[in-house]
């Protein structure tokens, strides 16, 4: 070995030690060593396990829902008793039974009246499907994570096999280990409505959106909604949106009977059907949810039937102050930001000089 080599080798070792110590200190300061190696992989694995648990829960819910709906269907004589208030898009007074033709005779569904046949055996499958969806929703709503409600297209095969095909996948957030609950912020996305390209704030899974629902609004409408939420919080309440933007496809599916509500099958007459759901072919004035500027809203922790008259009044005051106007036929439906109904309300206010909180 040469003499110069003897000098350089220790020098390199010393420099290496200094550099590695320095590197260790820097990385330690950045906190990168607070987690063990592979923690991210574990986070992913935990999410996978959560997903498996959710799938198991869905399978079990389907099993029990099927048994329960068979029992209840029989008790109701093969007719279902789904109330308009249970259907998100009902457009008239809530709490009207809409599936019964002749009503009940002291608790028993009428199959035959003196001059009328009230039972249609061909609708038994449809009635089972409605009941099943209701039971399924109540199970899924109880699950701790957000599983979409009314998310299935059903197929009922003989002796009975029910297949629920999900319309939307189940999405689970992969969370950093140190926090247990997801802190969600609205996501901005561009959508093409009949009005053109619109900036949509998607706030599904946030405090403002009901569990199991999908929520999106235009940026302007969302801003007003945040303002309304601020006002509600000042009064010790919180708002909950259970229906907001609907794409043309979603509205067409609702109208066309491709959703669990089965509007087309239950109301073949279009005029009758329009009492419960809007016809997307009649434009945005008819279907304001398609603009992303309309919401169906209530106070958090209450269903529509739990809301008292005072609750609805308070909600109307909050929403009006935040810049929304209500549709008179629906206590829960508000619009803003230049929809046809909103513009009419504002115009009427200018003409009369009086507050117009609700308009037909």
């Amino acid at each position: 070995m040469k003499k110069s080599s003897l000098f350089f080798m220790p020098l390199i070792v010393i420099i290496l030690i200094i550099v590695l110590v320095n590197l260790y200190i820097v990385l330690l300061e950045k906190g990168s060593f607070t987690k063990p190696i592979g923690s991210r992989q574990f986070d992913l694995f935990k999410t996978y396990l959560e997903a498996e648990k959710a799938l198991f829960f869905i399978d079990q819910s389907a099993k029990y829902s099927l048994q329960q709906s068979i029992y209840e269907l029989a008790k109701d004589g093969g007719l279902s008793e789904v109330y308009a208030s249970d259907v998100l898009t009902s457009r008239e007074t809530p709490f009207i039974p809409i599936a019964k033709k002749c009503g009940k005779f002291y608790g028993y569904s009428l199959w035959y009246e003196k001059d009328a046949v009230c039972f249609d055996e061909n609708k038994v499958k449809l009635n089972l499907e409605l009941l099943f969806n209701e039971r399924m929703n109540s199970y899924l709503d109880d699950y701790p994570i957000n599983i979409w409600l009314d998310n299935y297209k059903y197929e009922i095969r003989d002796s009975i096999e029910i297949i629920g095909r999900a319309k939307e996948p189940l999405k689970l957030d992969i969370l950093k280990d140190e926090r247990k609950e997801a802190v969600k912020k609205p996501i901005e996305e561009k959508i093409i409505t009949k009005e053109g390209i619109t900036e949509l704030k998607e706030f599904t899974g946030t405090e403002l959106c009901a569990k199991g629902s999908k929520c999106g609004l235009t940026a302007e409408a969302y801003q007003k909604l945040e303002e309304a939420q601020k006002l509600a919080k000042e009064k010790g309440k919180s708002l909950e949106i259970y229906s907001a933007y609907r794409s043309e496809e979603e509205q067409t599916a609702l109208w066309g009977g491709q959703t669990p509500e089965r509007y087309r099958q239950r109301f073949p007459n279009e005029e009758e059907r329009r009492k419960y759901v809007c016809n997307p072919n009649l434009g945005l004035g008819e279907c304001p949810h398609m603009t992303g500027k309309a919401v169906d809203i209530r106070f958090k922790g209450k269903s529509n039937s739990d809301m008292t008259v005072d609750d609805w009044k308070e909600l109307e005051k909050i929403m009006y102050t935040a810049g929304f106007r209500r549709y008179t036929a629906e206590l829960w439906h508000y619009e803003c930001c230049g929809t046809e109904r909103y513009n009419r309300a504002v115009q009427l206010e200018k003409e009369t000089g009086k507050e117009v909180r609700a308009i037909s």
Binding site: K2, I58, P169, A182, V183
Partner: protein, 317 residues
């Protein structure tokens, strides 16, 4: 050592120092810009799965068609025989048919509601409707009546009385009063002991005095007195004592001539025949696990198809 080896050796510390400097820059500096770390999203990604499912049950919806066909057989049979006979004949291995199968609170509610509504709907006046509440001990067990049932009556709107069963969520019935008013109870409490002895207590609300009070009782039968006083039709829940009727305030009811009304001289109100029958069809040898709000339990049960049908009465030859 050659010159090129020396240059390479000198480069090693330079590369290492550069590495340290590089590592010390980047996210740590931008991280400082975020002054509200609590509002940072803690989501590092999304995991997506298809939640479709399939569920199976050994049950045939075609049973409803079969039941409807059998009902048509009963309806044809009823042209010559009584409905009770026809129903008894139709029982087979697959289905068990029964005329009405209400139990517990449902039985109490619908029996009372039907009696009340029938009496209101009868067109005559100055008559009584009577219902004996006594049952055999076997029937008490069969109907699950070894309990006390509490019904609340209120008027949500004019001409309507809503009867609700306490402690049985959602079990209620709406009576149409056809504009009649009178001594109508605000609460109906019925209990049975194991010997089949009924104990009925009626509670009333006195509008003129604004107080709730218990009527005479316990009673073993229900009596409704329909009357016309000063051209106003009234309907009163009353108690019979000897040959007289007493109102809930325990006063003897007088007629137009101010004489006590004699029960023996009063006709029974003419109840209109309805010819609508309650039918229950149980699928034999089949059970499922289900919840029933009436008993609040989840257990194995046989589904019972319950429906009502108008069956034309037998034609007299």
């Amino acid at each position: 050592m050659e010159t090129k080896d020396l240059v390479l050796l000198m480069l090693i510390p330079i590369i290492l120092v550069s590495l340290v400097i590089y590592t010390d820059t980047g996210p740590a500096i931008t991280g400082a810009v975020v002054n509200e770390p609590a509002k940072e999203s803690n989501i590092i990604g999304t995991y997506s799965i298809n939640p479709s499912f399939k569920a199976k049950e050994k049950y045939d919806l075609d049973d409803y068609n079969k039941i409807k066909e059998l009902l048509d057989v009963i309806m044809s049979c009823a042209k010559q025989n009584s409905v009770e006979q026809c129903v008894a004949q139709i029982n087979d291995n697959e289905f068990a048919w029964q005329l009405g199968c209400d139990k517990g609170a449902e039985k109490v509610l619908y029996d009372f509601a039907e009696f009340f509504q029938d009496c209101i709907d009868s067109e005559d006046n100055n008559c009584i409707c009577t219902k004996n509440l006594e049952l055999s001990s076997e029937k008490i067990k069969e109907y699950g009546l070894l309990n006390t049932f509490d019904l609340i009556l209120n008027e949500p709107s004019q001409n309507k009385i809503k009867i609700e069963v306490l402690k049985s969520e959602g079990l209620s019935y709406g009576i149409n009063t056809n504009g009649l008013s009178g001594w109508i109870p605000s609460r109906y409490v019925l209990g049975y002991d194991s010997n089949g002895i009924p104990k009925l207590n009626l509670f009333f609300y006195d509008l003129s005095k604004g107080d709730d009070f218990k009527g005479p009782g316990p009673l073993t039968k229900l009596i409704i007195y329909k009357n016309n006083l000063n051209n106003i039709n009234t309907i009163d829940f009353v108690k019979q004592e000897n040959d007289n009727l007493k109102n809930p305030r325990d006063n003897i009811i007088m007629d137009k001539d101010n004489k006590p009304v004699e029960v023996s001289k009063l006709p029974n109100c003419n109840i209109k025949p309805k010819n609508t029958y309650k039918l229950c069809v149980m699928q034999k040898n089949y059970k499922i696990t289900a919840y029933d709000k009436l008993d609040g339990q989840v257990k194995e049960r046989s589904p019972v198809v319950k429906f009502a049908a108008y069956i034309a009465p037998a034609q007299n030859p």
